[in-house]
């Protein structure tokens, strides 16, 4: 009995132990370049978690998460532009367009505290307002997807076209800025950012898990599967959807900010239409409706992308397109979903290995089996 308890205890804490070890060891093992890549991909895991919340659990396919991702990135980017300046100076690019005074909306970003709030509150607010308007009208399914994509294009064109306000298509560089007196692009700073990313990914994961377990999570699944039914039960589903869309927006903002400081730039390309659809495919490949799948998908696909792009850049779009097709037609539950639903066992049995059957303890504990058994006994009487 003590064995059982301790082994279960171990099994539960093992993943966390591994994460801690990895977070401590990887910065030593990996060269700075690789570590930076890993940090970037992990930060993308946060936006993927948000997409999993709204798509995997609530059934809302947003093709516009890039909006919130970029807003978070821009908030931090603007602050970093300003933080490097002596009083009275303007960020360099303003000079190119003959702007003499700092635009009003830049002013608050001199404050680190405001920026820190803005990174997640601003995207959450935008998502909340956009979501409320759309959900109130009961726009759903593909119409929701198309509308979010249109909104994305609006934001993209706006940021892309406004040189004088936000440096337009060139974006904002963060490498040469200083954070706490240290160069953002420096190796030690990047190592700290890696740790911060790991911490925030874990935090985002725990938050998502808290949201999806329990009755709130059940309500989200119910909205996905049969929203009208829930409404007739007395639930104001609009509020739920708005709330979860705002949370996903906040996650995207944090993700964008982390990604920005680790890749050294934020630009309207973060709001490009293909990038936001890519985010969806990370979740689909990892396994929608499984939180760990979202993070895994984001890291794996981006890692594959960087490897392929280094070796055979021409083939990446073929591979990515193929992934879209494969995951939709053959792996609808994604890798993690496939694993959990006994995919490996099925594969093994195809190859001739006998599938592992559930034996005594598990079988006995299965409620369905118990129910069936007692029904059978009832019939015997």
């Amino acid at each position: 009995m003590a064995d059982l308890v301790s082994s279960r205890h171990l099994r539960r804490s093992l993943p966390w132990l591994l994460i801690v070890i990895a977070a401590l060891v990887l910065p030593v093992l990996l060269p700075p370049f690789r570590l930076n890549l890993l940090g970037r991909f992990l930060s993308l895991g946060i936006v993927a978690l948000g997409i999993d919340l709204i798509w995997g659990f609530t059934g809302l396919l947003s093709l516009g998460q890039g909006i919130f991702f970029a807003l978070g990135g821009y908030a931090l980017g603007m602050h970093l532009q300003l933080s490097a300046l002596a009083p009275g100076e303007l960020p360099e690019f303003f000079g190119l367009y003959g702007v003499k005074a700092l635009p009003a909306f830049w002013q608050p970003f001199t404050s680190p505290l405001f920026t820190l709030l803005c990174i997640w509150v601003l995207p959450a607010l935008v998502a909340g307002v956009l979501g409320y308007l759309v959900f109130r009208n009961r726009i759903k399914g593909v119409y929701f997807s198309i509308l979010t994509q249109a909104a994305l294009l609006v934001f993209f064109n706006f940021f892309n076209g406004q040189q004088k306000l936000i440096n337009g298509t060139n974006g904002l560089k963060t490498d040469t800025a200083r954070l706490f007196g240290e160069l953002v692009g420096s190796d030690s700073m990047q190592r700290n950012l890696f740790w911060l990313t790991v911490l925030l990914v874990v935090g985002a994961y725990l938050l998502s898990r808290w949201l999806t377990r329990g009755r709130f999570g059940d309500a989200l699944i119910a909205i996905r599967d049969d929203e009208p039914r829930l409404r007739f039960t007395g639930y104001n589903t609009t509020v739920y959807k708005t709330l979860v869309f705002a949370v996903a927006g906040a996650m995207a903002g944090v993700s964008g900010a982390l990604y920005t400081v680790q890749s050294g730039i934020v630009s309207p390309q973060y709001m490009a239409v293909p990038f936001s659809i890519e985010m969806v495919i990370w979740v689909a490949v990892g396994g929608r409706g499984t939180l760990i799948g979202a993070v895994l998908g984001a890291v794996l696909i981006n890692y594959a992308k960087s490897l392929v792009s280094e070796a055979l850049p021409e083939t990446w779009l073929f591979i990515q397109g193929g992934l879209f097709l494969l995951v939709v037609t053959a792996l609808p539950d994604g890798l993690v979903g496939w694993w959990r639903r006994g995919g490996p066992g099925r594969l093994a049995s195809m190859l001739g290995w006998p599938p592992r059957t559930a034996t005594y303890p598990q079988l006995d504990l299965d409620p369905a089996v118990q129910a069936e058994r007692s029904e059978l006994e009832g019939g015997m009487k």
Partner: protein
């Protein structure tokens, strides 16, 4: 069955008409339900039975007329608010959340605040948990509490949905075809359950199964082409020449044989 004017009706439909692009699904429908009443509504296909429920529950807004619940108009109130006022609905085909367990389905439906903050931070009270246990016992699903609702049989799903409806503890229960696809035994049990609910609750049952309705021993309202054709006990209704014509005289299916 005397409609005494002393008791105010719980639900009243006054001249309700619904038009879908020129097609009148309901025409000038008048109907009143007294508190505690058990009422059956029948009618051939296309008589407007489902639209009738849609109007009460807020899914469809009446083109004309008014729906009063405890004297208060329901027109324009969103579905979830109507549900919270105490009107529960069971759908024609069993609609349970298939990817959740039986227990979780009931946890979602059980009476109490349905706001997101309550669901996030609050826990089910002992009373609510007990209510869920009771209902599981009532519909005989205790042993399936941890089973996915999607893996239940058709009859079990029907009963789970009825249990969800009861968990809401509504004053008015609108039950659409509760015994469709059930075995005789299950049908009988459902009838008993609905009869036992009347009195404390007001129950309106829509059903095709005439034997079942006879068993309910409830007054019957016959709908035809969107308005009330006649009302009365089963025997009265059955011998009404207009009803016979509607069911047998026209080309609709001969459902009205018993």
């Amino acid at each position: 069955m005397s409609h005494s004017t002393a008791v105010a009706p719980l639900l009243q439909l006054r001249g309700v008409s619904v038009s879908f692009d020129g097609f009148w699904a309901l025409k000038d429908l008048d109907l009143a339900l007294l508190p505690g009443e058990l009422r059956a509504v029948i009618g051939p296909n296309g008589a407007g039975k489902t639209t009738f429920l849609d109007v009460i529950t807020g899914k469809v807004r009446p083109t004309r007329g008014d729906v009063l619940f405890r004297g208060r108009s329901l027109v324009g109130i969103p579905e979830h608010r109507i549900a919270r006022l105490g009107i529960g609905r069971k759908f024609q085909t069993p609609r349970v959340i298939e990817n959740l367990t039986v227990g979780h389905n009931l946890d979602l439906a059980v009476k109490g605040s349905h706001g997101p903050l309550t669901l996030l931070f609050g826990r089910l009270s002992a009373q609510q948990r007990q209510r869920v246990q009771e209902l599981l016992a009532v519909v005989g699903l205790e042993r399936h509490v941890a089973q996915q609702a999607g893996s239940l049989s058709h009859g079990q799903k029907q009963w789970l949905e009825i249990a969800m409806l009861l968990a809401q503890d509504p004053e008015l229960l609108l039950v659409d075809e509760p015994v469709a696809g059930l075995s005789d035994e299950e049908t009988e049990l459902t009838g008993k359950l609905l009869r036992s609910l009347a009195g404390d609750h007001t129950v309106l049952v829509i059903e095709h199964d005439m034997d079942f309705i006879r068993e309910l021993q409830a007054p019957v309202t016959v709908l035809h082409e969107g308005h009330v054709l006649c009302e009365g006990s089963m025997d009265v209704v059955q011998n009404d020449p207009r009803v016979i014509e509607v069911y047998l005289g026209t080309e609709t299916e001969g459902e009205f044989q018993s």
